[in-house]
Amino acid sequence: MSERIDMIRKKLTEAFSPEQLDIIDESHLHAGHPGARSGGGHFVATIVSTAFAGKNMLVRHRMVYDALGDAMNTDIHALSIKALTPDELNN
């Protein structure tokens, strides 16, 4: 279980050098529902990075998906993303 989180953490850290990064595995909440059969996990990622400055939400989410690459098709069934800049976090 935690191997997946480590993998996600590594990819996101490399891509965004985040000031804050929280990844929660919520897979247990979804066990058994039809979409979860493929075995991919459900995760919630909160990423605080200056890399998101000046970018809209759609672009930020795409950046995160791109950083995770193939893992989006294999290990990750669903990912809830909160992508903030340090300024937004403090306001």
């Binding site: 979804h30 529902h33 795409r62 989006m72 669903a78 809830s80």
Partner: protein, 109 residues
């Protein structure tokens, strides 16, 4: 018809469309369910495509808009995002504005 062409036609002929797992009445995934509920709360008609019932679209939609997950919500032919963004826009009151405007423009033309 080519599947990408089919998707293009769907998003361009419907002002608001959600690609989801299941239907708004019987969603098959929590994320699809929440996004569809937000759209319903905007009190406008919207189209939906059940990607579980259309394997070709299920396989190809991610590369249509370079977005790997479901649901996907399109307004005026453009992807606005998945569940997180849709809910955030809804909470800000933006989603209702966007949906209402899209429907009014569609009726006017």
């Amino acid at each position: 018809m080519d599947v990408l062409e089919r998707i293009k036609q769907q998003v361009e002929s419907n002002p608001v469309v959600i690609y989801m797992k299941g239907t708004p009445q019987l969603p098959q995934c929590g994320f699809s369910s929440r996004a569809a509920q937000a759209l319903q709360a905007c009190e406008q008609e919207f189209a939906y495509v059940n990607v579980l019932a259309d394997p070709e679209i299920f396989e190809n939609l991610p590369r249509y808009a370079d977005w790997p997950t479901f649901p996907q919500i399109y307004i005026n032919g453009e992807l606005i995002g998945g569940c997180d963004i849709t809910l955030e826009l809804f909470q800000q009151g933006e989603l209702k504005k966007m949906v209402t405007e899209a429907m009014e423009n569609a009726k006017a033309t």
